[in-house]
Symmetry: C2
Subunit: 280 residues, 2 copies
């Protein structure tokens, strides 16, 4: 998948500064995105609100993909499924339009990357089924608020991500190895890390694996498959979470008639408070 | 739905006593059920193990039903979906056969009750998709262990169940009002009740409503739609949970080509410890 990541960003740049964008409500931010005043990543924007990954498949593949989500909730936490053909969000941001309200998309046709547009107006299909999936931003914010350091943010790098030796439970044409992100956590804070992240099951939830990288088929933590090598400090334990790249691999492998996804880190900012559905 | 409940139990009775049956492991109990040595309810059997409700629909309706589950997790907590055509359980009790391993079934054809057999050998279809749904037995056991009284068990009656004025989120041909069960809880124990039941999201989880029956469209707690009127004691607060009759109403209303369900209280006893997936 990495070889498909575009190297040439769209020439047009955002007319808003990130500081201005960060001040906008989710609704106003989506309006700025729909009008292409904001075309950059959504990291740090809409703070306190749930952000979602997007996967859109044709109706004929929607059952298998829905089942794939149900069978693999840790790497593929499903938060909303739209009715077939509809780009209008019902629950997470009523009235939002998934054709325009993300800053950038990726469009695949028959399994091949076709374009990376700023909107889907020209690509949307009458039988498209949109899936909104949770992401790790929610629990990262909660960890920081709990005083748990996140080394990749301190170093201003993406988190290390690995393709593991564990297979997800397949569903029809969708299958993938489980992909995990890793965050080094000081040993005394590992239990607290489990407690905090358990509250967000729709945002990957509790870690899937703590310590022992070899148990996931990871021989060398520096040999990342995505993201950047970790910054481990003395006494840190590697803690692994299911990662949203898992469904991307599954969708890539299925070679559906068409697939639309968000462009990496260009996500859907919802109206839903990150805490609204937190457990206990 | 209540008028469809059979009044004539099958003439054959179980050759095991309930005391003997309660001593069996889930695997041995399922074997006794498959050989019709046990044809009665599964209440109190397989203690400490998850029990599941069953709903089987044709493949052409499986996507809508899966989506209905995803959209209404409190009343319809989905725990496993089998591959189309397969009656063999993969996760909750590997190798178990859903055609034989429940004590009694209900078979609907084109929306009409056709039979209430002890097995589905003659009814199973090549395109049948089986859904296993969580039930309230798990959290009731946990509440008792936490010292929280359950009035309906003290009175040896079924819990009161009400059809509410709230509609579930529909999905295709599946729609239903939310059905709730109610348990009167002493006011000082209501918070603990929330904590305990929150641990079992796949078993209806936290209450959907606490106090104020009118808010659910319930004018008179004694006017139950299913089960038995409640035994409220002084200082008790009515606490409401999503109820597994909700998907039954949805399945009834969909009038699929065929539908197979468990017979009330004759459930699927799994190998999974009730605590295995408890949250935090």
């Amino acid at each position: 998948m990495s070889d498909k990541v575009a190297t040439s960003a769209d020439a047009r740049s955002s007319s808003l500064t990130r500081v201005d964008a960060a001040r906008l409500s989710p609704r106003d931010l989506r309006a700025a995105i729909a009008t292409e005043q904001w075309t950059d990543t959504t990291l740090g924007l809409g703070l306190g609100h749930l952000q979602a990954n997007l996967a859109v498949v044709p109706r004929e593949d929607a059952y298998d993909f829905l089942l794939f989500c149900q069978r693999n909730p840790k790497p593929v936490p499903l938060i909303e499924v739209l009715d077939a053909g509809s780009p209008l969000v019902q629950q997470l941001a009523p009235g939002a339009d998934l054709r325009t309200d993300l800053p950038r998309y990726r469009v695949f046709r028959d399994g091949e990357l076709a374009s990376e547009p700023l909107h889907l107006r020209d690509d949307w299909e009458d039988d498209a089924v949109a899936f909104l999936l949770g992401c790790s931003l929610t629990f990262e914010a909660a960890l920081l608020e709990s005083g748990i350091p996140l080394r990749h943010l301190e170093a201003d790098t993406p988190a290390p991500v690995y393709i593991t030796s564990q297979q997800c439970r397949p569903a029809g044409k969708f299958s993938a190895p489980m992909v995990v992100s890793m965050r080094p956590i000081p040993a005394p804070l590992v239990a607290r890390t489990v407690q905090v992240t358990s509250r967000y099951p729709w945002g990957h939830g509790a870690p899937v694996h703590i310590g022992d990288p070899a148990g996931l088929g990871i021989d060398d933590l520096d040999a990342v498959d995505f993201g950047a090598p970790p910054h481990m400090e003395k006494g840190d334990v590697p803690v692994f979470w299911g990662c949203g790249i898992t469904p991307q691999l599954a969708v890539d492998g299925a070679r559906s008639r068409y697939t639309f996804t968000h462009y990496a880190q260009h996500m859907f900012v919802t109206d839903r408070s990150s805490e609204a559905d937190a457990v206990a």
